[in-house]
Symmetry: C2
Subunit: 562 residues, 2 copies
């Protein structure tokens, strides 16, 4: 059963793993030798030529792993994603993982590693959590090269007439650095540039990361980069990267990063780990290129999306799957007894005690997400990720509720047992994909108005009774109409902790309205971000950052990453 009482840390388990050379993992996928660019012995990038070579091959089935609204109790969505693929492989199915790559900021800050956990991890864990193959550094560099080009344009005469008060493009670092949230740049007199207010986001919040993850090819990447709006002129006209002639240089900086990264799980299941945009101001899914390549290389692609189903799955289905023409065959909805009890009102300190009543109340959160997945027409199975503290009565409560409501369900213990702990889930899933057809369709049309699109998401996915738009949001919608941006899908930025926009309302809130304060257009990525509150795009470090425990020992081994 899933527990963190084990003596071994994730890092220890990962470092003790006997990995296969990456060329063997690639061979397992019938990747040609020249299509694998090794990065060390256990990581590699896959050539985009694979897509051309396999263009006539039937795609594998895409399975999306999502979860209930996250709580401090943890759900283990990434761990289930990895464990499920390991289980499918144990059943002799050709499974492949398509996951997001972690950001260094949180690794150095609070949470340590982010590559699954226990015996359901992708490895080499410390490489993946540190610089990996440099994708995030390439994105950081492209983002900041654009900033330098903008400020240089302004400094060198500002031919385009960019209003320095309306530059919306921010700089980024892949770190948690609160002091950079609001800065003034260009100080020091006429030789040093033009002073203006600016700010730094964490790299994963960059629109370039979102573009990187939605691009379908290098040429599509370039087109999207060209469309980025970096700010507005004195006449309030949008200024794009194309206006600055810079899409070529930005594409060049990303030309290697755009190739998916191949690694393996502790059980040698192939995993493509590529791209990782924020799940609030962006869509929170790994790259389209990796997902589509995984579908060419495997029979079953296990992928995940950020936060709970109200954010991650909604965006996967309405934005990514729509744009990239991906048809998900099934959705796995991860829940834990502990997290459901929190949704039922139990405080974190009391989670080890049996509480059937709270569990039943909390299961309304799960119920809402099941309804949502069904609204998209995709078959769904609930994965209950077990902990030692779960009582038989509690497990029984979930199982019988699922049976009464014709919901497919399976218990998993992948943290402790690896793939073996996910066999039931894998079997259930294979059965569902054999018997239930996916009738996937996005829940709104792009031709609907911006208001209608937001309202559909709020009502169908969150269970809200309606949406209020601020005067500013109304004004922006009119502007979008004028600029020709109204046809874009909506990317909701909302608290991940609640179905509503109030993070205190756990479980399944009712009779609430959603407020859209303002929009942030991401024209290169191709969506309009609708902000329900203030969204943190640059985290801070805690009093004792995780970094202070990190080290390299005498043998050159990493220490202190989780």
């Amino acid at each position: 059963m899933t527990t963190k009482k084990q003596v071994k840390s994730d890092l220890q388990i990962a470092q003790e793993a006997k990995m296969k050379p990456i060329k063997d993992i690639a061979a397992q996928l019938s990747v040609l030798e020249e299509e694998l660019e090794p990065y060390g012995h256990y990581k590699g990038k896959l050539s985009l030529d694979i897509m051309e070579r396999l263009k006539d091959q039937k795609d594998g089935k895409v399975i999306l792993v999502t979860a209930i609204n996250p709580t401090p109790a943890g759900e283990g969505k990434s761990t289930v994603t990895v464990g499920l693929a390991q289980a499918l492989q144990q059943l002799n199915e050709k499974a492949i993982i398509a996951m997001r790559e972690p950001s260094l900021g949180p690794v150095m800050g609070i949470k340590g590693g982010a590559a699954g956990g226990g015996y359901a991890q992708v490895v080499p864990m410390e490489d993946i959590n540190l610089h990996f193959t440099g994708d995030l550094h390439a994105i950081t560099t492209a983002n900041n090269a654009l900033s330098a080009i903008i400020d240089n344009h302004i400094h060198q005469g500002n031919e385009l007439g960019i209003d320095t008060r309306k530059v919306t493009w921010k700089r980024v670092v892949d770190l948690n650095d609160r002091a950079l949230r609001q800065v003034v740049v260009g100080l020091g007199g006429p030789v040093q540039g033009v002073p203006r207010e600016d700010g730094f986001d964490i790299t994963v919040a960059s629109e370039i990361m979102a573009i990187f993850c939605l691009a379908t090819s290098v040429q599509d990447l370039k087109k999207r980069l060209a469309r980025i709006v970096v700010g507005y002129t004195y006449q309030n006209e949008p200024v794009t990267v194309a206006d600055l002639n810079s899409e070529g240089a930005l594409t060049l900086l990303l030309k290697d990063a755009i190739k998916p990264n191949l690694v393996q799980t502790l059980e040698h299941t192939p995993a493509l780990i590529h791209g990782g945009p924020f799940a609030n101001i962006a869509h929170g899914c790994n790259s389209v290129i990796a997902t589509k390549m995984a579908a060419k290389l495997g029979d079953y692609v296990v992928t995940e999306a950020g936060f709970g189903a109200d954010l991650g799955a909604e965006k996967f289905l309405n934005i990514k799957a729509r744009m990239a023409d991906i048809k998900p065959e099934a959705v796995v909805l991860v829940a834990t007894v502990r997290a459901l009890k929190m949704h039922g009102g139990v405080p974190k300190t009391e989670l080890s005690k049996e509480n059937i009543e709270a569990l039943q109340e909390g299961m309304k959160n799960l119920e809402k997400h099941i309804e949502t997945i069904r609204a998209f027409g995709v078959p769904c199975v609930v994965a209950v990720n077990r902990f030692v503290t779960d009582s038989t009565g509690e497990i029984e409560t979930i199982m019988s509720w699922c049976e009464e409501n014709s919901v497919k369900v399976a218990l998993t213990e992948v943290w402790e047992k690896g793939g073996a702990g996910g066999i039931d889930l894998a079997k259930e899933l294979l059965q569902i994909m054999k018997t239930e057809e996916s009738n996937f369709a996005p829940i709104y049309d792009l031709s609907a108005t911006v208001e209608e699109k937001v309202e559909t998401i709020a009502k169908v996915v969150y269970g809200a009774s309606g949406v209020d738009f601020s005067p500013k949001a109304h004004k922006q919608i009119a502007q979008f109409e004028q600029y020709g941006w109204s046809y874009l899908p909506i990317c909701m930025a909302k608290t991940q902790y609640s179905l509503s926009d109030d993070q205190e309302l756990l479980g399944r809130p009712e009779n609430f309205r959603i407020t859209i304060r303002e929009f942030k257009p991401s024209i290169g990525a191709g969506f309009l971000v609708a902000l329900t509150g203030s969204i943190m795009t640059m985290p801070g470090l805690p009093k004792k950052p995780a970094a202070l425990n990190m080290d390299v020992d005498e043998n050159g081994q990493a220490v202190g990453i989780f």
Copy 2:
């Protein structure tokens, strides 16, 4: 003869090259399979285990390539470095290059690529000039992680009592970004941190880059990082990385970057390209680890140092060679007829016309550098890098001057002919190393006072009549005494264009004094930077940055990098 009239660009020549797989280049050096970490098919990192395995093996001979004071006419120091190694290999000698890795900032800004030129290049040229194996990104990240930790420490209560007005540690980006030279961070109220003045340098100006290049092992790297002084307390006591408990995390961020990068020349000569600190506020040489590893793997190591001999060679010999216990066997001093004529007073537009008189005047610059190299006790050969515009009379003038003054000299045409154009130089060099013994010794003792050390460099290397220290510099010297830093070597920050500290004084100026305005202690790197004027540590972009011509074509090939 060397000319840029050829139709093919450096990038074209590089892209047409038939490279050998990097594993073959490694095998050529008897590197074991597990000691090579491939990064793609044509780049790799070499394990530091090689140093342990070969610790009893005799070191190869180290040859330093330096030059006269640079002029806008260009000298081709990197090109000669590459061409010389190619020539040695053509003579069946086991030669290996140890060079600096380029910074992205200048590549995107003005100068395009930096990996040799013509038929004397290291390849894959575009990879080396873009992200390469991510070393600079790792250094950027480590530098900025330290900044985030400093500002977080101040924000979280400032236990160490850091005076926010005396934080000397700056942030970095690997870009030319003038708007970041002077900034204010921490704005936005109490939740966003503590406002203070800050600035960004280009990554190669980071002290971490200097440390990276002087470290002899991972453990030495950690020790040096721990010693970095990031600022001062309200009581004016230095605050170090060790005080912030962060040397482990910074070392972890650099643990892969510290491994030397293996690539090849157009003629498959092995090249270690690793580290590249600024040649003004740092010592301007590639990494000690790469140089020492090259000496274990090859019989002849061809390495270079930044700018002219007054800066690059002086620092290579007084700082790097001393710290790392490297004994250079010979120095190659690169000059061109065109550049010598500029030193003799000819404007850039008139360089194609024969002008023996100006050449003779300009050769005094060359003469001074020859004297300098002799002062260090190292045998020296002049390499005259030919251009089509050089007249027979001009070449004759140099050759006969060298003969009269017992100076060894050879003509090179490596840009046009590759190694074949460097055979004469290679033969001359082999002859010198057979017949002349190197009696290398630094020109000052570390036990001398700070003033004495600066004066020795100014008099012996620059030909100055003396040194003036500003009141601020005097005050700092007294402080260094108090902090125990006086024993450190001096790293001069001076214009590269003149032997003096006035960039207008070309040729061989006489009767001048050097002024030290202030010092910048780099305690982690282990030297005191003596600043003679304002040193640019963050370049700006020109009106039309090179980036605007860069692109990726339909075949995924880089376009526009030189």
